[in-house]
């Protein structure tokens, strides 16, 4: 299956970190005008591979061949200048700069006139690049004013701007570009990828297997730092790929529907006419112990704001929220937490985990009072309890004292979820709990969500995909323009169809 003239090739690439062989003799090639999909579980080595290509990590053994010559990029910028552009999983948009400045960051030379930047020319050029991703926004505005999805499109526009500015081949690497995009935007992106194929080669990394199959010509599966499977998309199936990824048979009960509760406990949460100006208005519902309520809606529907409101991060402007019949204040996060809310934020890196603290310290962050006497920490109690959670949730960490930042994304998310279980939250508000984590870790998270429901925790869920919301929820509220447009019951065997939901979303 070797292409005749691969544009980019990795030959026997090996990369070791202390104690781990992150990449083990990896062979990958990308042909001209080809879209190559790359999938793998959490910790399979995808991020390392990307960083190795970008020059952030050095290759220990093996070689990187670009346009037929061995290359070693010094930095992402160096790679970019040679024609290898990347769209990172974590956004690399500088919020205080304008859209145009972000697109051309580091390449302002093109617009210099007498040593100063010609802003008009730069904005005009940016407009051209934005048109390629069909994003209609003023290139002179600050990126801070754009929403997350629009920033992602800017990021893609930045990568695409290479096209036409370079003589040689262009390879564009998209690392999880769709995780924050809605279906409409994903379709747009795929359209762009198909257009680009005529001019460039593309490496597409995603955790959504269906998407990878949809857009790629060929797929590599990585596991434990090695390529375990390579196939053309036409020959592949989702189940097959998944089995290669996890190295075992796919559980048919992906969303653990067999564990979905049919009967619930006492009502816990009631939301009455809750509003935040310009975000959502008059939201009302009741939620019982053990019930999972899914929220569906496009970006701007108000569901993100609602979740942050329950977390105490966005104060409501009207209405009331009651827990166990008692009204609660949501002006500050600690009020929300002490009333019984546990909020799992979508931005895990900045809001979910405290990087400077250890795993155990993160786990007991909210429940600190229970682990201290007269302000002094009860270290033994903390250690044993945290260790039991680590074992139970199969969190991969050398010990409970390991710094949080050395864990992988999925394991970090498990720690965040355990934080609220240890605290004993009555209502868990999960804002994209599986964003940016892999299939295997996702299944663990689903398992955990079911377990929480079993223990009587009421759950408000903003899913990463509609499929996820449908699969996990007992009931689904669809939001449109800040108001509830529909409500669906979703018992096992009676799950609503995606199309029904979408019709109420837009």
């Amino acid at each position: 299956m070797t292409a005749v003239n691969p544009v980019l090739e990795l030959r026997n690439v090996t990369k070791e970190f202390p104690g781990v062989r992150a990449l083990d003799c990896v062979n990958i090639h990308v042909g001209r005008n080809e879209v190559v999909g790359l999938i793998g579980e959490n910790g399979a080595g995808k991020s390392t591979l990307v960083k190795t290509l970008a020059g952030i990590h050095r290759i220990d053994e093996g070689e990187l061949i670009f346009e037929g010559e061995p290359k070693s990029f010094r930095s992402p910028r160096d790679a970019f200048n040679h024609g290898l552009a990347m769209v990172f999983q974590e956004q690399s948009i500088i919020q205080t700069l304008t859209v145009a400045e972000n697109i051309f960051l580091g390449r302002e030379r093109e617009f210099l006139r007498f040593g100063v930047i010609d802003k008009r020319a730069m904005n005009a050029a940016a407009k051209v690049e934005l048109a390629k991703v069909h994003l209609d926004c003023d290139p002179a505005q600050k990126c801070a004013r754009l929403d997350f999805a629009a920033r992602q499109m800017v990021e893609i526009a930045k990568a695409l701007s290479l096209d036409g500015r370079l003589d040689g081949d262009v390879v564009i690497l998209l690392d999880e570009p769709t995780s924050v995009l809605e279906r409409r935007e994903i379709d747009l992106l795929f359209g762009i990828i198909r257009e680009l194929k005529a001019k460039a080669s593309i490496i597409f990394i995603s955790h959504r297997l269906d998407e990878v199959l949809e857009v790629s010509d060929r797929v590599y599966v990585l596991r434990d730092g090695a390529v375990v499977h390579e196939t053309t998309s036409s020959d592949a199936s989702i189940t097959g790929l998944h089995e290669h990824m996890v190295g075992r048979q796919l559980d048919h009960q992906y969303y653990r529907e067999n564990k979905q509760r049919a009967a619930f406990g006492n009502p816990v949460l009631s939301v009455r006419d809750l509003s935040i100006d310009d975000e959502f208005s008059n939201l009302s519902f009741e939620l019982a112990e053990g019930e999972i309520l899914g929220l569906a809606g496009v970006v701007g529907s108000g569901r993100e704001a609602f979740a942050r409101c329950l977390g105490g991060l966005l104060p409501p402007s009207g209405g009331e929220v009651l827990i166990d019949g008692k009204p609660v204040r949501l002006n500050r996060p600690h009020q929300a937490v002490n009333s019984g809310f546990g909020f799992v934020p979508s931005e895990r890196k900045s809001e979910g985990i405290v990087t400077g603290l250890s795993v155990a310290e993160n786990m007991t962050l909210a429940a600190g009072e229970r682990f201290s006497r007269l302000g002094f920490i009860r270290f033994e109690k903390e250690r044993t309890e945290c260790q039991s959670w680590i074992d139970r949730l199969q969190i991969r960490t050398p010990s409970s004292k390991t710094p949080m930042q050395s864990l992988s994304g999925g394991n970090q998310q498990k720690v965040v979820l355990s934080k609220w279980q240890i605290f004993g939250s009555k209502v868990a508000v999960l804002d994209h709990p599986t964003r940016g984590i892999d299939v295997g870790a996702k299944e663990d998270v689903y398992e955990l969500i079911r377990e929480m429901a079993d223990q009587g925790v009421a759950i408000v869920l903003l899913g990463d995909t509609l499929e996820e919301v449908i699969g996990l929820s007992n009931r689904i509220l669809v939001l449109r323009d800040g108001e509830v447009s529909a409500s669906f019951d979703a018992p096992v065997g009676g799950k609503p169809d995606q199309l029904d939901l979408i019709s109420k979303m837009v």
């Binding site: 990172f88 690399s92 500088i94 304008t98 030379r109 930047i117 002179a140």
Partner: protein, 316 residues
Amino acid sequence: MASINLRALAPIGVFFLLCFVIAVFSPNFLSVSNAIRILNASAIPVVLVMGATFVILMGSIDLSVEGIVALCAVVTASLVLNDTTGANLGLWAVPFAVLAGGLIGAVNGATHVYLKVPSFMVTLGIGFVCLGIATAALGGFPVRISDRGFRALTLGRSLGLPNGIWVAAASVFVALIIQERTRLGRYVYAIGTDEITARQSGVPVERTRVLVFVLAGLFSGLAGAMAAAQLGQGHALIASGRLFTTITAVVVGGTALSGGVGSVLNSVVGVLIVVVLTNGMVLMGVPPFVQQGVQGFLIIVAVSLALDRRQLEVVK
């Protein structure tokens, strides 16, 4: 310019409010001659904040301001007609002072970047070194300037305004161009907002950091020359008290110490607020022993009015 938005207007509002309050107590405040005096007293601080703003926008800090200004004032005073050395360069001493400042800035930047020492400590240490050199070079005595022509740099007037004001205005213009229209300016924002991302996007972080400290040094050097011209001498203590005024002005103007947010224009307003406060304290006849307290109180009020709190999710 795009950077002038509503947020930049809040400090201006505070400034006018302050002027109004002082004018109620002391009608003289609103005279043209006092306006000129305030602008004149703002000249050196404005030049200083031009450099300091870039450093702070980058998330760093420059504590060597007093040292560089003093050393450059001494350099200037020694190069024009004076009572200690035989030199007589006249206004040509100014570029030398500016260059000397830039050189010290380069030492700051290079030490900070290549030894990976926080700017706080580097500039504190280099500031001590500069003051030490200024003291040792003169044995504790001042160099007195006898060159009238050179002193016209601040004493003379053009178009009815003291030249110092024009120099400051030119500095603001240059700083604004750098901020808005050069790669350096844009990179400063990028680094201040997110250094790691900026680096991955190909921003030459090290070079930019060094250059920004050079820039701050150049402005401090110019301020040193101006101080020498204004007081007619150069000595090691000529800049004492300038450091905290400079940083306070930058912050009062609305530039965040954490970097990424702010502008040189904000800092100009910050300087005006701080200078008017000092001026107003005397005009209103505030008793000396409570002045520092009143000033502290008013700075709190000014900043709390001028700050856009929605921008500050985290206050450090």
